[in-house]
Amino acid sequence: MYPARNIFLLLLVGPLLAARAAAPVDLERAAEALVNSRPQDVLRQLRRDSGSRSERLIWAAGRMGAQPATDGNLREAETVLTELAQGQDQIAAQAAYLRARIYQLHLNEPDFARAAELYEALAQRQPQSHWAQLGLVKLGMLKLYMLPDSTDLKADRLAPAEAVLSRISEPLLRRDLDLQIGQAGIVLHQPQARFLPHLIAADRVSGITGTAREDLIVQIGVLSERAGDWVRAREYFERYLAEYPTNVRAFTIREKLAAANRRLAKGGGA
């Protein structure tokens, strides 16, 4: 009805729309938005079905992190991740890993068996990828606590996870699974000789943060004391007191250290 006005509007808005469509996506900013817990920004900026593999991976991660975290939205992310996981590059490994995470952790009803299959498939396909290695850590934990081979109470409960551990070559990831096998050994009532070496192995690699590190030092000292390994007990008690002298546990540990020293003076020890 007003062709001149429409043409004028088109001339005005058209370049803006074109500029938006053609604007290169700032992937760095999108990734930063995810680091800063702003997945909605990513979903506004990126499209599900267009862009590079990196862009689509970030879109899928944004979809996983955005609210509402419905199973429908997660399935939408999974569709993109499944497609991306077909390649052989790092993006494929990362996509396959995230897909497994959806089943283990994000769906309303987790499917541990399916997650385990996906971790295993990734490890078979790209065994040296960091994401496959990280997936093996998660697989090891599922074998400790959740998968069918963890239900036989008389079996060696740590062996399945130890088999997974042997496939992990990255030191920090080995440390993390070693720590968890050690802790699980306690919860699952396994013999101390089976789990204590894992705790010691975890301690040998630095970088454990938070309470876990402090607990680990006390733990190795106390468990060694219980096993009559007074030399190791003394080593860890001394370390604890040097690093955490003001902790409320220090009083008890001082007493334990004195007891260990008395034992060693009498000629005890492992």
């Binding site: 996983m64 959740m146 938070g210 106390v222």
Partner: protein, 535 residues
Amino acid sequence: MKKDGKRRLGLVLLVGSYLLAVYWVFTRSAPVVSSRPVTIRIAHWQIEKGPPDGVDAIIKRYEELNPRVKVEQVLVPGRVYNQWMRTNLVGGTGADLIQYGVWLDGLSDIPARYFEPITDEMLKPNPYNKGTALEHVPWVQTFTDGLLNQRVNAPDPGQFYAATLTEVAVRLFCNRELLRTITGSDRTPQTYAELRVVFQQVADYAARTGKPVFTLAGARDNASWLMQFLMQGAMMKSSQRNDRHGTLSLYAYDELGLYLEGRWSYRSPEAKAGLTLMREVSTSMKPGFLQSMRDAATQEFLRGDAVFIFAGTWDGTSIRSAATFPLDVLRFPQLTKADPVMGPYFFGKFADGGGGTTMEFYLNKQSAHPKEAVDFMRFMSSVQGNQLFTDHSGWLPSVREVKVPADIAAYLTPLDCYSFGGEYMMGMGSTTAAAVFRNLYLLTDPRGSVDQFVDAMEAEMPAAVRTDLRKEVTNRAIIVRPQDVRIMALAALSRRGQADGSLTLARERQESSQTQSEALMLQMSRQLDLAGPVK
């Protein structure tokens, strides 16, 4: 002429009003545009005498050092704090820095949902400690306890979330005059057995004189602290027996899991002995004390109606400044092996403080000025900032190298007692705590008994423990799920060239702490599966 006079008067009034307005604007009013472009708010419930002055002193100095930033202190009464925090966080109007405590009822999901970890900052030195002995010490290690409590309660075991302002302990405050009047001596009880004698002397005095005097000032809060202290001490052997991890410390989720496995209950002899002591101390408080809060107990003590008040050092400034009588501050008299109730289960002296620091401030994820908020956190927990807090609040510091004034030195707790963690009453989870409070009258009422309380609790615990353990799993899931996305994004940033090492380090830390949290989730889920539904 008359008309001219009116005009002149009007003009004079107009000019006068204008001049007055100009004077007011330039001398009295706040500027229309703040000279400080950034405003951050710090909110807490410590409205007792002391802490607001301490925080004000920190703010004043901080604003001198940082002319760009204005800091507002938001004081919220404890009675409405929970609702205030939840409403403001949901509405996106929460303060930048918020005090939070893990024991706050019904708020266990808050840290996971609304608070941002500050791990990277904690592992670097605090710049405000420049020129002090702590100049090169990582921020976390500048706290007297290495942020032990905060780390134990962190929603993610591998992360740091909060900075603390003070160290707390529980103490027995004594009205020396009243003690002398009743017992004929200034000597304070040194053991629980001696305290029992005072219980009897005070009861006799009250009966003889008709005065409503009690040994202990009573209120739900003070009684809970004392009962928890007695119960933890009573359960030390049980805690040690159940310390299968060898960490010398039971966490709340450990206690819940151990309960499901049948490793402890209120029916155990140790627990019953602890409950017997709790009932005994409750009879030395005024009847109906469960209905009143700690302010009522403080008033009772200050009126001279109670010889002692068992209170946290957080009430110390209020009590000392308002007391009109000589005051002694002492550690609670400990039990001994000869005690007729606790003797068979006695392990040793139980820690009455342990040097843990608290008044924890968390960074709101929605803060518009996170950098400035963290910077203020650094200042308040620097040697200078924390000294200002201590000097103006009368509360203990949380930071090493801060000088403790002589009048509060009695609040310091030497490391001379055992502690194996384990709360057993209010600290396991909000559902179990609610059950304890709901049934506590059965223990403290003159017609109640230990057995009545135990029966009521054991009827509720199986369901309450499952609920709290499920909450632990859910709260960890809230933390762990977004970490997948963050880990992926950190890897993407590294790939795109921002490879200064810090991104890789951040990703590695995130992966490691996520694995720790996930393992706990799996462990707790398994415990719940094995326990099955309540029979």
